[in-house]
């Protein structure tokens, strides 16, 4: 017998492997065709915009776009003494150009973020630059006295750099300067880190309350007879069918100082009419409203896990001599850990990026980092800072996810 392994062939003589690949190819194409629309949709509306925004956090080319020559010559500037005539001349020409093209405002705003007060200096100088003649250094220095300051020039050089870690620094309350690198901002200007911490704490508190309130409900859902549990399920799902805005504003009606809760408290004498509790437009309002809104996200994963735990486990524990409490702690609770993990993770991650509810009921002490991101997106139009804040938030969530995976194990999460 020859010792050569012949490739197995199909009936028509082609190698079986080739034949199989050809047969499977068609079904693979068909399967890919089915997911292609969704894939394209997600790519266009989700992946690409997020990626673009993430890039904005470290990339800002406003200055470079409108004053490219100045940016170029500034690269060679040593950064310790006033620049020479060449830089001033380039600056004057490009200021005049931006004045004509009406883009000086954009450049001025960009520099103003690095050095407050720079806006007026830029617009004033640009107006005069149209008529400036050599030597430009003297002319510009005469236009505004800020041009004499080296720090001002340093700020301009920083903004002229397209790729910069400055926004991430700012998002963590650090200030970037050309010579000293990152430095912590003054105490009263540190707002972001505090907000990050508050977001984490409120999210954790909301998650805790959701677990505390949701666990018994989920247990009832899983153990009551079908007729009763269906009704309960509808009550749990009801919030999903109501607008988020309606639910949040309902809390305003309930919790405000002339609201239901305060009226009842005054009536039963817990507090006097003059000293009603402030339950809304602060952290309390945010926690209460968010807990209510996120509760179903805790109940549903818990329910789906509890549904799969037969009552015989607890019965077995009881018959083996365990008290009801012991049976719950040692047998039932450990088996619901996947549900607790899934629900907790879901609620926490949703809470960490929550926006509408804190914006409506949070007041001063109840706003979260997402409200700050929204502010920079919509009001201050500092998208790069918003992107940096968002990037840190995303990184934080991924970090928590990783930590959860290490401690509990992500395959230990069950959503249904």
């Amino acid at each position: 017998m020859p010792n050569v392994i012949e490739p197995i062939t199909a009936a028509d003589g082609t190698p079986l492997k080739k034949k199989l690949a050809r047969a499977l190819f068609r079904s693979k194409i068909r399967a890919a065709g089915l997911v292609l629309p969704l894939f394209a949709f997600i790519l266009c509306t989700f992946v690409v915009p997020i990626f673009a925004l993430m890039v904005q956090g470290v990339h800002n080319d406003t200055f470079h776009t409108y004053m490219p020559r100045t940016a170029e010559v500034l690269e060679d500037w040593d950064g310790s003494s006033l620049p020479g005539e060449l830089i001033f001349a380039t600056l004057a020409k490009e200021l005049a150009k931006t004045k004509k093209e009406r883009t000086v405002g954009k450049v001025a705003t960009r520099v103003n973020r690095q050095y407050s007060g720079a806006r007026s200096t830029f617009t004033k100088t640009a107006r005069k630059a149209v008529k400036m003649e050599a030597p430009f250094k003297n002319a510009i220095l005469k236009a505004d006295k800020k041009w004499k300051r080296v720090e001002f020039w340093q700020a301009i050089k920083l903004t002229s750099q397209t790729w910069t870690p400055a926004f991430y620094g700012a998002a963590l309350d650090y200030e970037l300067s050309l010579n000293d690198g990152f430095e912590r901002k003054a105490e009263k200007e540190r707002i972001h880190v505090k907000l990050f911490w508050r977001t984490l704490v409120i999210s954790a508190v909301v998650m805790g309350f959701c677990l505390l309130l949701g666990y018994p409900v989920a247990y009832l859902l899983a153990t009551l007879p079908l007729k009763t549990s269906n009704l309960l399920m509808i009550l749990v799902l009801l919030p999903f069918w109501t607008s988020l805005l309606v639910r949040t504003t309902a809390w305003i009606a309930i919790l405000q100082s002339q609201g239901v809760v305060n009226d009842i408290l005054v009536w039963i004498g817990v507090t006097s009419n003059d000293s009603r509790f402030s339950l809304i437009y602060n952290m309390t309002g945010t926690v209460v409203a968010m807990t209510h809104i996120l509760l179903p996200f805790m109940v549903l994963p818990l329910y789906s896990v509890m549904k799969t735990i037969p009552s015989s486990y607890v019965r077995a524990a009881r018959s083996l001599g365990a008290t009801p409490t012991w049976a719950f702690l040692k047998i039932y609770l450990p088996q619901t850990v996947p549900g607790i993990g899934a629900g907790g993770l879901l609620v926490f991650i949703l809470a960490i990026g929550y926006y509408i509810t804190p914006a409506l009921v949070g007041g001063q002490s109840g706003v979260l980092i997402s409200n700050m991101i929204a502010f920079h997106m919509k009001s201050s139009l500092n998208w790069s800072l918003a992107a940096a804040l968002g990037g840190i938030l995303l990184g934080g969530v991924l970090l928590l996810y990783w930590a959860y995976d290490r401690v509990v194990g992500i395959d230990n999460v069950k959503l249904g």
């Binding site: 486990y313 077995a316 018959s319 009801p324 049976a327 047998i331």
Partner: protein, 365 residues
């Protein structure tokens, strides 16, 4: 075996209703002696599992009293009853290893680590599962899980062990093997076992006594031989083993023998077990293996005319379906001896049996 003065387990006039409208268990009276193996056998919905759950303490009796070792346990919660239990789906705690599962009842009882280890090892040896001690239940086969469940119910040395259809999920061969194993463990430990099943062969194999349940009532309580040989009513006769049914009206009852006129006019003599007086309807029960097929009447046997409808060759015996007295579902198990192979479909023959093997029972339409 039964000590009627001081039974170990006693159900006294127990009734159970879930909805307040129907009784699932109707007036149950059952005494179980220490060391006995009693099986509650019946179709699903007959109330047998409810009885077991009441004994375990997971259901409360609506009426009546349940006693364990002479004292009422109606108001004692399950964890204080000290009853071992094997569940239908084993109910091994999935997040604990085999050893942790077995140690659970011991740790609850606050035993020392040394004692726990010793008892767990003993229990593992008993079911020959020492090699699997560090596995999780999901890593065990059905039969292995069953053994662990058994060991766990026995590890804290309870006097009473309840088993709720513990072998239902196993395949036939393994089930039969486990039946013997449970029987042997029962014999060697001397523990009292109350076993629930709907499988009659399982009940016959393992039990000292069997309580046949139907409709919330114990239809017959007897040892396996009596139950099979001498069923007291039509339900038991039909539920335990195979059974030929002949309907008729009682003509006469004398000296324990009833003369019954079958619906087609034939007259048959049968043992009067559970019949009313003259003129009452009755169901005659004859086991298929107690019938003889012959070409002529045999001396001393009751005999009826029959036509062979179907023959099924089963190796050790031939299953012969006949039309007897208007009933074409009459089965005779003909032993596979050399003389019996001459049976032909359509042949008109006689089918006969001893009068004692034909039991006249209550009429069950």
């Amino acid at each position: 075996m039964l000590d009627s003065i001081d039974p170990f387990v006693r159900f006294k006039g127990v009734q159970k209703s879930y909805d307040g409208e129907t009784l699932v268990v109707k007036d149950l009276n059952l005494d179980i002696a220490a060391g006995e193996f009693v099986t509650m056998l019946g179709p699903s919905g007959s109330g047998k599992t409810t009885c077991l759950m009441m004994l375990a303490g997971f259901e409360t009796a609506t009426h009546g009293e349940i006693q364990l070792g002479g004292r009422s346990i109606n108001n004692i919660p399950p964890h204080k009853r000290g009853i071992g239990m094997v569940f239908q789906n084993y109910a091994l705690f999935p997040h604990l290893t085999v050893v942790e599962n077995l140690a659970f009842p011991l740790k609850v009882r606050k035993m020392s680590a040394v004692e726990v280890e010793e008892k767990v090892n003993k229990a593992l040896d008993m079911v020959q599962m020492r090699a699997f001690s560090d596995r999780k239940p999901a890593q065990l086969s059905g039969g292995q899980q069953q053994r662990i469940a058994l060991a766990r119910a026995l590890v804290f040395e309870p006097d009473l062990v309840l088993m709720d259809e513990p072998l239902g999920a196993l395949d036939k061969q393994l089930r039969e093997h486990m039946q013997y194993e449970i029987k042997h463990i029962h014999e060697s430990l001397g523990v009292t076992v109350v076993y629930v099943t709907h499988d009659q062969s399982e009940a016959l194999t393992m039990s000292n006594r069997i309580a046949v349940f139907d409709d919330g009532v114990i239809q017959q309580l007897a040892d396996p031989v009596t139950l099979y040989e001498k069923p007291e009513n039509a339900f038991v006769a039909q539920f335990i083993g195979e059974n030929n049914r002949l309907m008729g009206t009682v003509k006469d009852v004398a000296k324990g023998v009833a003369t019954v006129a079958l619906d087609n006019g034939d007259i048959v003599k049968a043992l009067a077990v559970n019949v009313g007086g003259k003129g009452e309807r009755s169901l005659l029960s004859v086991r298929p293996e107690r019938c003889i097929v012959a070409s002529e009447k045999t001396q001393g046997l009751s005999a009826l005319n029959g036509r062979i409808e179907e023959l099924i060759y089963l190796g050790d015996h031939i299953r012969c379906r006949m039309n007897v007295a208007g009933d074409d579902e009459f089965i005779v198990k003909v032993p596979n001896t050399s003389g019996q192979l001459g049976l032909v479909i359509g042949a008109e023959v006689f089918v006969g049996w001893e009068t004692n093997d034909c039991r006249a029972l209550d009429y069950l339409c």
